[in-house]
Symmetry: C2
Subunit: 310 residues, 2 copies
């Protein structure tokens, strides 16, 4: 079994209150792969340019990720993003985006990548996501991320793509924007009506919520004394969440989904401790397990009815 992820492989220039990096490995597929590779074989699909360094390809291959479908475009430049975060890390400004080889990206998946049981469509044009979805008709579980840009300029295409996936993973502000429902429970109902049976609302420093037809579940972000760089936190979360489910081989009950949320949350918390992929690339499975346990300790409480007065 394996997990296929289609999305950006990028160089990021990032400034946060804790420092900056001129050019570091990034991109949604990269962060997803580094997290999901703890659980299952990952197959990364995306284009890079001539400027993509061999050592970065090796980083992408951490824990056995296949880069068979990482297409090196001759004469092209790797996707580049330049952003800066505000003092509380909740706001960020994009200074520059250069699509490079991503502009004309037409994914053609190898037989190996098509045969994965689990597929993650990271944030790219919804038309492209749908094309990939159609190349993997037998995938048992397909999850999708998107962003406000596509809701603004390609809403119809995005909705048609959402109709073909099992799970939507989106920032809660984007869920509101997409459904025009300010209330998360109502927003999820709109999404269920489109097709998916699982909605994950990413809530940044507040954690994430999981909504299914009959259940609501929420986990806080793991409390950290210092967050250095939030870049890639959402994709790292998705890598832990989707990767965990892949390892559970078809079990998608509430118990599996909730533990997947915990693994996603734990992995995302490591990601933000350092810049880019720096922390997760040297992370160990023992550290992940330990943090999942620590997260459990932050969320457990006993429900014993109190003898109330009235």
């Amino acid at each position: 079994m394996s997990v296929t992820v289609v999305g950006s492989i990028a160089y990021d220039r990032v400034k946060t209150p804790f420092g900056e990096r001129e050019r570091m490995l990034g991109g949604a597929a990269t962060h997803f792969a580094l997290a999901a590779s703890f659980f299952d074989e990952v197959r990364a699909v995306g284009p890079v340019g001539d400027d993509f360094a061999d050592e970065d390809l090796q980083t992408l291959q951490t824990r056995g990720t296949s880069t068979e479908d990482v297409e090196r475009v001759a004469g092209g430049k790797t996707f580049f993003w330049h952003g800066e975060y505000g003092w509380d890390l909740n706001s960020r400004e994009t200074h520059d985006t250069q699509l490079g080889v991503f502009e004309h990206f037409e994914p053609k998946l190898s037989e190996g990548s098509r045969s994965s049981d689990v597929l993650f469509l990271a944030n790219i044009q919804p038309d492209v996501q749908r094309g990939v979805r159609e190349q993997c008709p037998d995938a048992g579980f397909v999850a999708l991320d998107s962003m406000n840009l596509w809701i603004d300029i390609a809403r119809d295409s995005l909705v048609r793509t959402i109709e073909q996936v099992d799970c939507l993973i989106l920032n809660d502000a984007e869920l509101r924007q997409l459904t025009e429902k300010p209330n998360l429970v109502q927003a999820a109902r709109e999404i269920f009506a489109m097709g998916p049976s699982v909605v994950v609302a990413k809530q940044g420093e507040y954690g994430a919520a999981l909504l299914t037809q009959d259940h609501f579940f929420a986990l806080p972000a793991y409390p950290l004394e210092t967050v250095v760089d939030p870049t890639g936190a959402g994709d790292t979360f998705a890598g832990g969440f989707v990767g965990y489910l892949a390892a559970r081989k078809g079990e998608r009950d509430e118990e599996a989904l909730r533990r997947a949320m915990a693994y996603g949350t734990a992995l995302a918390s490591f990601n933000v401790e350092e810049f880019g992929t720096e922390r997760v690339q040297r992370l160990t499975a023992d550290e992940v397990r330990e943090r999942v346990g620590a997260l459990h300790a932050c969320t457990s409480w006993v429900d014993v009815p109190l003898e109330q007065r009235a």
Copy 2:
């Protein structure tokens, strides 16, 4: 045993996307008392004007709350607030605030109110809060709320007041503003250094976090399909939280604090289902217990280490 709350008793004019009320009973002490009265006898302390209706006094007395120290000021007008909420209920605009009898409020607590073991200082001028604190030297547990206004114009006084309480309950944005630390864990450490041993960060639709010297705990808000009016949610939360602890008679360990968070969260979720005090005044203890159980179901997950690949 009893819980004393000092704070506003008010009339609110409120407009939300779901309707409006021209003049409804409100105020921090009111919302607190209606919630805390499920757990222990509440003694409400605050001024009202000639215009305060007998039926509103009766509402304040729900579940046995003592209004012995509700001072009716001859010729005075009851505190009045007029506000309006935006479409997602996360933003609100204040159209009018008339302090009325609150402007020259100098609380003088009766022997009964001074002898409570638990004291809640709702959001008023920090000088006045400190005066009340000094009238209750024997209180075993004192919790305090405040707001951005006092951080702006009376920070030194607020800090001196915080130094004399056990628990600070504040919106997370206000915690950041007060401590100038964007990170919640760091912000709580600043507060611990001032004196309190318990910090509760209210996070609106995301729930609330509890920070103590050695532990972090977070609970989501209870998921509701429709939130009608958020007014008083924070004080209702405080009433459930502090009231529960009062009923636990001196037990303030992590287990008690976490269950107090759950009762606060459950009560706040009822409060926002209807305007003002409408829902909580007719609420039953069975409904509260049932919602605490439902909240537990929204936050439970099993921590069983997965056999990871790497």
